[in-house]
């Protein structure tokens, strides 16, 4: 091949090679297919009750007539809605609409119903009258306008919400979100992800007591940063028992707060934090690593741990009047501990057996 021809071919080849990625670009530019602004949701869906409320609103909007206890209803999009009644346990069904295979079956329980042991409700359930769940029942999603009781060994796959109180039997798995407008009581062995209730009780314990706070506290000697409201420590810090701290504390090492101490501000530690028994913190608690919350501690503000958090017997997070958030990668809550507001275990949370 003569050199000019070779050069021309090479140049043409290079040109085509270079132009290749520009072809889809120019096509997209001339005939846009993906040109809408990214969606910014108006509501932040992290609220534990978000899906439950959306489901409830959807059902209520569709149920224009009062539901009958004798027949089935049909949603506009073709999903079948079956009715559960107190006696009609046979109405618990996982059948799908033959005319619309694959469509979800919504179960509607007009009155309070008892779900038999071992049942699997693979449809979303709306139960205005509430549910008494048997043992080893599997629920996909469940909304009740009143109380819910889940038997031991049950499993919730997506979310569960009660406008009333909710009791969760031992060794139940609460995957996804579980919420109640009144209270949530979890027995030992329950595993959970996201919880919300004005009062969340992790198991029961007779030994839980009111926190014992310092009556004759010592004042922590802070450096000149005290005036700015933050005391920063570059190394590990261990506060003695019954200390009183008026400012925030930021500790770049590990932080140990002595028994019975009172912290008026917020505290943060980069290398783990231990709050010994009876510590009271008025502000937030932030631990970049593991967080140990001792017996009968009281934490008023948000509690954040980027790793594991251990909540000992009798510890309380938030108050009924001041709900807060307790967030960690993994949460281990001992029987007798209580949280008010949101509890969010990013991986999983456990109600542990009591360890003496």
């Amino acid at each position: 091949m003569n050199p000019p021809l070779f050069f021309l071919l090479l140049a043409a080849g290079l040109l085509v090679w270079t132009a290749l990625p520009f072809i889809p670009a120019i096509l997209e530019l001339r005939r846009p297919t993906d040109f809408l602004a990214l969606d910014v949701p108006e509501y932040y869906e992290a609220d534990t009750r978000f899906f439950a409320r959306s489901f409830r609103d959807h059902i209520r909007a569709e149920l224009t007539d009062s539901p009958s206890e004798t027949g089935d209803g049909r949603f506009p999009e073709g999903a079948v809605m079956s009715f559960l009644t107190g006696e009609g346990r046979s109405a618990v069904s996982t059948e799908t609409d033959p005319a619309n295979p694959g469509e979800a079956l919504v179960l509607f329980a007009a009155t309070r119903v008892a779900v038999p042991n071992g049942a699997a409700l693979t449809s979303d359930v709306y139960a205005p009258g509430g549910i008494d769940g048997g043992e080893d029942v599997t629920y996909r999603a469940l909304y009740a306008d009143s109380d819910i009781q889940l038997g031991q060994g049950s499993a919730v796959l997506r979310w569960i919400h009660a406008d009333g109180a909710m009791w969760v039997g031992a060794n139940t798995l609460l995957a996804g979100r579980a919420s109640s407008e009144i209270s949530l009581e979890l027995a030992e062995g329950v595993q959970f992800e996201r919880l919300y209730a004005p009062e969340i009780s992790f198991g029961t314990s007779e030994n839980a007591a009111d926190p014992e706070f310092a009556s004759g506290p010592l004042t922590l000697q802070l450096d000149d940063q005290h005036s700015r409201g933050v005391a920063t420590f570059k190394d590990d810090l261990e506060l003695p028992e019954r200390s009183l701290v008026l400012s925030d504390i930021v500790c770049r090492g590990s932080l140990v707060i002595g028994r019975g101490s009172v912290i008026r501000g917020s505290i943060k530690a980069h290398f783990g934090m231990e709050l010994r028994d009876g510590v009271r913190v008025e502000g937030a608690v932030v631990s970049v690593r593991t967080l140990n919350i001792g017996k009968n501690c009281f934490l008023r503000g948000p509690v954040i741990s980027e790793r594991e958090a251990y909540l000992a017997e009798g510890a309380k997070v938030g108050t009924a009047a001041c709900e807060t958030s307790f967030v960690a990668r993994t949460i281990y809550a001992a029987p007798g501990s209580v949280a008010h507001g949101t509890v969010w275990a990013r991986t999983l949370g456990f109600v542990t057996p009591l360890v003496e």
Partner: protein, 484 residues
């Protein structure tokens, strides 16, 4: 991580080879420049030429040799610098796609929310200020803990009138601040408004933004951490369907926030406060001396002053807010120049303090802080690198022979120029909007224009404005229709 380490080793090896071969290469010039000018060396013959050169080493350096050595040294430094930034882009993208994601504060759903003040600097914003106020008043933040201060900064349109109408309808919540005869600029407006702020947390929104209902809580949540001095949310262009330019900017914003900022949060580095859709703790602001009125990039300036004083900036990727991006190139170029001037002023002010500091987070945070400071200083180096490469080639000099040359060129052109594109691609994937990725090659055009704009902004006449020059608010044009 092994791949990253291997990449780092390869690039380091190339750098070392470039430096190590410098004397030999410099000598080779003497031989090559004596050849007929049109007879350019070819990489294919490089090994043989090198053999000849090695035999003809001249021990008395000539002026031309010195020039070549300097050019080579410059090119080596630039390649190394760009490689470092490239690795940074890759590390960020990989962290975002495969690493552990840190959103420590976004799960604070319920809390006793503190009182806050929202500041909205507005200079001739009649087209957008009404909508902004309406959306803020619709936020799910407790109304009794919310104060909104729209700052009517010497506006000559109906901005003041619209603000006053909202103040009349929402007394105790909307508290307007009118500036008529004062220093121009957003930072000066914010600094003046400080005297009205009575809460420890203040959020700042530009007047053209469209905050979602839950964004205030998301931005306030990080302040429960006593170490956090500032918070930044994510900005999303709303007018991307307008034209080619807006679509390119949407891609850049995606890369910048979805990957770059969040990766810095993941890796506990230096997320940047962006001046809007964000907030600052007043206790920390007072400690660092308030807003700097003369700063063109008060956001970057604030980030570094906070960092040097031991306060962290948190990035909240889920605190999303719409904004309008420039729809015409002159507007976009002015914006880039403004950012570049402001950012490079921060580089001059904070480079040495940062190097000397013993900051929280140690060396990784310091290195990231330094690299972030230098992002607007890099384009001139890129252009100089190209010129040096071309110059060396046309001087008849083969920088390094054969396979190594290919490696070096590959490292420079792909890592150097396209690593940021990889980051944008990762961001688009994370955003779940796949088809727009097709536009990625066209970012090359935007990249070149930005490079030229930044270099022009660094020309001497732009660097040191006269002391008598008054700061003007060179704000971005609005395109939306007025809504009250």
């Amino acid at each position: 991580m092994r791949r990253i380490a291997a990449g780092v080793r390869s690039i380091a090896a190339i750098g070392v080879m470039l430096v190590a071969t410098a004397p030999i290469q410099a000598q080779s010039f003497e031989r090559s420049h004596r050849r007929p000018p049109l007879l350019l060396p070819s990489p294919a013959f490089a090994p043989q030429l090198d053999t000849v050169r090695l035999q003809a080493l001249d021990r008395s350096p000539q002026p031309a040799t010195l020039v070549i050595r300097l050019m080579l040294l410059g090119l080596t430094i630039i390649v190394a610098l760009i490689s470092i930034y490239s690795i940074r882009h890759y590390v960020f993208a990989i962290s975002r796609m495969f690493g552990r994601q840190r959103h420590p504060y976004s799960d604070i759903i319920t809390a006793e929310w503190p009182p806050i003040t929202v500041l909205i600097p507005a200079h001739n914003e009649e087209l957008v200020i009404g909508e902004m106020l309406r959306l803020l008043l619709n936020a799910d933040y407790p109304r009794d803990r919310l104060t909104i201060i729209p700052i009517n900064d010497r506006s000559e349109d109906r901005t003041g009138e619209i603000i006053d109408s909202y103040a009349a309808r929402y007394p105790g919540v909307v508290a307007p601040f009118h500036r008529s005869d004062a220093k121009g600029g957003k930072a000066a407006a914010l600094q003046d408004a400080e005297k009205l702020v009575q809460t420890d947390i203040e959020l700042v929104f530009d007047a053209d933004y469209l905050p979602a209902r839950g964004v205030l809580k998301l931005l306030v949540a990080p302040f429960f951490d006593p170490e956090v001095g500032a918070v930044m949310g994510r900005v999303i262009p709303i007018n991307l369907s307008r034209n080619f330019l807006t679509r390119l900017q949407e891609l850049e914003r995606s890369g910048g926030y979805q990957v770059d900022q969040q990766a810095r949060m993941n890796l506990a580095l230096v997320p940047q406060y962006g001046g809007t859709v964000g907030g600052v703790r007043r206790r920390a602001l007072a400690e660092i001396g308030g807003w700097k009125e003369e700063s063109l990039a008060e956001d970057t300036d604030l980030t570094y002053r906070l960092l040097l004083h031991g306060h962290l900036t948190a990035y909240e990727n889920r605190a999303e807010c719409y904004e309008e991006v420039p729809e015409v190139w002159p507007e976009r170029i002015r914006q880039i120049k403004r950012w570049s001037q402001g950012h490079n002023a921060c580089l001059r002010h904070y480079l040495l303090p940062l190097l000397r500091s013993n900051m929280v987070g140690g060396m990784p945070r310091k290195i990231d802080g330094l690299l972030l400071l230098g992002v607007f200083a890099l384009p001139p180096f890129t252009i100089i690198g190209w010129l040096l490469g071309l110059g060396l080639f046309y001087l008849g000099y083969i920088p390094i022979h054969g396979f190594v040359a290919i490696l070096a060129v590959t490292a420079y052109s792909t890592l150097g120029n396209f690593a940021a594109f990889f980051q944008v691609a990762a961001a688009v994937r994370l955003d779940g909007s796949r088809a727009r990725i097709r536009l990625l090659p066209l970012l090359l055009g935007g990249f070149l224009i930005s490079t030229v704009a930044i270099v022009r902004s660094m020309l001497p006449r732009h660097l040191r404005p006269s002391r008598n020059t008054a700061l003007i608010w060179d704000k971005t044009k609005r395109y939306r229709q007025a809504q009250e």
